[in-house]
């Protein structure tokens, strides 16, 4: 028997060598145990057909290696968000506050090469800093292999994948200055050093092209609505020459320009494409998840629907020309920017094969469209919505409401059904708190001018899915969505004199004004850009009481689950299951007000901030929060779920929360999972897990 197993192992090994050799001759693929794109493939699935790691052995996984990223920048990073690529046994990813690029041996984690590019003030002024999400890979299949990434200062750089050396024939000495050609106002080139633009997502490589999106500052409290205009560009991966450009704010004579009334296209900005871009090579279509215009919560300076803000736009792969678009939110007022890569799936609906694109959102709806035509697969209804009473605001009369699949998390607050009911006293307190807010039976509850002595804000979902996005099992047509399941509130205030040309920004009357900085809007290598003078604050506001939040002494006003993983059947448009994700937070489990109450597994509210991967065997996602429950050491768990039922089939202790989405690959017959962990006391680390050899030969 032993010999038989050894022979089998040898055959598998030989097969692997053969497959490995042929893989080198062609293009990398998940079917060969590789992970060649940030989202595994161009379709955004985060799916790998590997199944060596499965429900029967997940708990036997061991740390194969760790890679600490502390020294890839002048100080360690505590928000490592990368998902490495794996091609030919080598991992490629970004690391550290410098956003260095590293190549690691997939079996051992040994550093093969490292590259960094020093940008000085340009990096320090960048709106999207830190290490970002990773890199893109290209090969001609004949030995020319390249790694491409965007620096914090918004330069596209091409590296030799074997050595890490910059490729001289690409752009200028290996660099394309992405700020060249980026505009604000009416065609006004932004400043190459201080101009506002950057991106965290990885470029998308398709055929011989590399496609790059754009991102601006977090838009809650920005100094001007006339900031940088969003765009997407494709470049020749060999030369760095631009192939096409799609401007997300259409100019005069272009389709959609009339949705910016009063010529407001001319003096408004943002509308970036900050998430991963996906592609259907066969159809020749590129899917762009387009984001919010400036500013996030007030649209008084941009009357109209504001195309292509908060739209899914399909453009021609060869020309960048728009083929269709679908606007998810008209005249955006909620920062419901598209927070996830569009996911492409082939399913059978009512007996007919359909090519669909599914878009996960902050408002907990999966918008499922025919990806050839852009038409909804199931009805999406334009329904009248509550109107804004903020001076100068002209909110859209109707908004599209998804009818199928059902919302995968809470899309609006149901009073009193959604309110906490651990005890009658808590329910009563929750009802009191909610009286101070404006609620609506739609996610499109417009922001109000909140006041600390009056109505505090308009209740909206606190973000169902965010930047890590979801995943998809193409073999079963199942769409997976991580989701936060709690609420936040939107309130506006006039900014202090001289702060902004926007009439109202995020804030509340009667309290000191606070500028909102985005994550990574601050803290790269060479940081130190803040020069703004202290804001004038009224003495009364400084002494005003704090705003009571949507919690009772730390207990959310809503029932659990606070965070969940959801699965949807895209063949039928149904919700398959929702599983609370993450252990009950310590402060809930041991809360003095909850003594004696029966508290279920609540899941964790930060679940919008973690991502997943799907394999033939499992869906895997880590905790967003540290806990110390009885019976195990302090830490966060990496969890494995059954894809059909949502049952947790395994969980492993990690030293810190999952800060970047997991990926998986196979080298020499062994499957590995790599996940970025960091946060709190734990600086950025790529953690590699694999089964012990004893489990492999059994």
């Amino acid at each position: 028997m032993r010999n038989g197993l050894a022979a089998l192992a040898l055959v598998i090994g030989l097969l692997w060598v053969v497959v490995g050799v042929s893989a080198q001759a062609g293009q990398p693929s998940t079917s060969r145990g590789e992970w060649p794109h940030y989202t595994a493939d161009l379709k955004g699935t985060r799916f790998s057909p590997l199944d060596q790691i499965n429900a029967s052995n997940f708990n036997k996984l061991e740390v194969a290696w760790r890679f600490k990223t502390d020294n890839f920048g002048p100080f360690p990073e505590y928000k490592l968000e990368g998902t490495p690529l794996m091609i030919g046994g080598v991992l490629y990813t970004t690391a550290g506050t410098r956003r260095s690029v590293i190549a690691l041996d997939g079996k051992t984690g040994e550093l093969i090469w490292a590259h960094s590019y020093r940008e000085g003030k340009r990096a320090a002024a960048a709106p999207r800093q830190l290490s970002g999400r990773g890199v893109a890979y290209w090969t001609d299949g004949k030995g020319d292999e390249r790694v491409l990434y965007v620096t914090t200062g918004y330069r596209l750089i091409a590296l030799n994948a074997k050595t890490g050396a910059m490729i001289n024939s690409f752009g200028t000495g290996g660099v394309v200055d992405l700020k060249v050609g980026v505009v604000r106002g009416i065609g006004q080139q932004i400043n190459l050093e201080t101009g506002e633009i950057g991106v965290h997502s990885t470029p998308t490589v398709v055929r011989d092209m590399v496609i790059v999106g754009s991102s601006m500052r977090e838009g809650a409290t920005v100094p001007t609505h006339n900031n940088t205009k969003g765009l997407v560009r494709a470049f020749d991966v060999r030369t760095g020459k631009m192939v096409w450009r799609f401007s997300t704010i259409p100019g005069p004579g272009e389709f959609g320009n009339n949705t910016w009334e009063d010529d407001s296209w001319a003096y408004n900005g943002n509308v970036g494409v900050w998430n991963q871009i996906t592609v259907d090579e066969e159809l020749g279509l590129v899917y762009l998840p387009v984001e919010t215009p400036s500013s996030d919560y007030y649209g008084g300076h941009r009357p109209g629907d504001n195309l292509f803000a908060e739209s899914l736009v399909a453009v021609d792969l060869k020309t960048g020309q728009r083929k269709w678009h679908y606007q998810l939110v008209h005249h955006p007022l909620w920062n419901y920017d598209m927070p996830a890569a569009p996911i492409l799936g082939d399913v059978v609906i009512d007996g007919k094969p359909r090519k669909v694109v599914a878009q996960l959102t902050k408002q907990a709806w999966a918008y499922v469209l025919d990806r050839v035509t852009g038409q909804p697969i199931w009805p999406i209804e334009e329904r009248p919505v509550p109107q804004s009473d903020v001076p100068g605001e002209k909110s859209a009369r109707t908004q599209p409401h998804v009818t199928k699949p059902p919302a995968y998390a809470r899309e609006f607050l149901r009073v009193p059904d959604d309110l906490v009911d651990f005890t009658p006293d808590l329910r009563a307190k929750a009802l009191e708190i909610i009286k101070r807010y404006k609620v609506a039976d739609t996610p499109f509850n417009p922001p109000i001018l909140g006041d600390v002595n009056g109505t505090l804000g308009a209740i909206v979902p606190a973000t169902a899915t965010n930047w890590p996005g979801g995943g998809y099992d193409p073999e079963n047509g199942i769409l997976f969505a991580p989701a936060g399941n709690t609420f936040g509130s939107r309130t506006l205030v006039a900014p202090p004199q001289g702060f902004s040309d926007i009439r109202y920004v995020s804030g509340i009357g009667g309290r000191p004004f606070v500028e909102v900085f985005g994550p990574g809007d601050c803290c790269a290598a060479d940081a130190g850009r803040r020069t703004r003078e202290e804001l004038p604050q009224s003495p009364a506001a400084v002494k005003a009481p704090p705003v009571p939040g949507l919690a009772i002494d730390g207990i959310p006003v809503v029932k659990p689950p606070y965070g969940l993983l959801a699965a949807m059947d895209l063949n039928r448009g149904t919700l398959l299951w929702q599983a609370p994700h993450g252990d009950t937070p310590d402060n809930i489990r041991s809360h003095p007000l909850l003594k004696g109450a029966n508290i279920p597994k609540t899941g964790q509210p930060g679940t919008s901030g973690v991502g997943l991967m799907v394999t033939r065997a499992l869906v895997v996602m880590g905790d967003p929060q540290i806990t110390t429950p009885p019976g195990r050491p302090r830490g966060a768990m990496l969890r494995a779920y059954d894809k059909k039922t949502g049952q947790e089939v395994g969980a492993l202790l990690m030293p810190a929360i999952q800060s970047g989405s997991p990926m998986t690959y196979l080298v020499d017959g062994k499957q590995y999972i790599v996940v970025a962990v960091s946060g709190g006391n734990y600086s950025g680390e790529y953690l590699a897990l694999a089964l012990p050899d004893s489990e492999l030969t059994r």
Binding site: F75, P76, Y78, E218, A220, S506, P512, V514, E515, V516, F517, G518, P519, D521, C522, C523, A527, G528, R529, R530, V542, P546, G549, G554, P585, D586, N587, I588, S590, H591, Q625, I626, T627, T628, R634, G679, G680, N681
Partner: protein, 142 residues
């Protein structure tokens, strides 16, 4: 071993034993590991350097974690105080990290301890990493 040397070695052991006893006596944040005056100094630094993001009431914002309450204490639960000290010293304030002195950092940590209702005591929180390693953050009173 000469008598003098033996006495010296014995003396060292006594000091070491005493140190162990005193660390054991102040093993968690519940044992009064900072002073009111230090927390006051820390508050002044906080208002100037930290409050713009973490808010004057330490409740955090849309993009910034709260520094008071159950989520904060759970996140740091069971870790040595040196970890919190070092995280602040190395990365804060985000826009100009490592610009607080060790003494200022210790003062800010004292202010955070006070804000989370951990009791004050008779001696300042030290600014050296080694003794901070001996103080454990415990969310719940043991």
């Amino acid at each position: 071993m000469t008598g003098t040397r033996a006495r010296r070695v014995l003396g060292a052991w006594v000091v070491a034993a005493f140190a162990v006893v005193s660390f054991a006596a102040a093993a968690s944040v519940w044992d009064g590991v900072y002073t009111e005056a230090q927390a006051k100094r820390g508050e002044a630094v906080y208002v100037q350097r930290c409050a713009v993001c973490h808010q004057p009431d330490l409740e955090g914002g849309d993009m910034t974690p709260a520094l008071v309450g159950g989520v904060f204490t759970a996140n740091w639960n069971d870790l040595p105080l040196s970890d919190l000290f070092d995280r602040i010293r190395i990365t804060m304030p985000l826009d100009s990290p490592s610009t607080l002195s060790r003494a200022q950092t210790a003062d800010v940590v004292a202010f955070l301890l006070k804000s989370n209702k951990w009791p004050a005591g008779e001696t300042d929180l030290p600014r050296e990493l080694e003794p901070l390693r001996e103080i454990r953050i415990q969310a719940l009173k043991p």
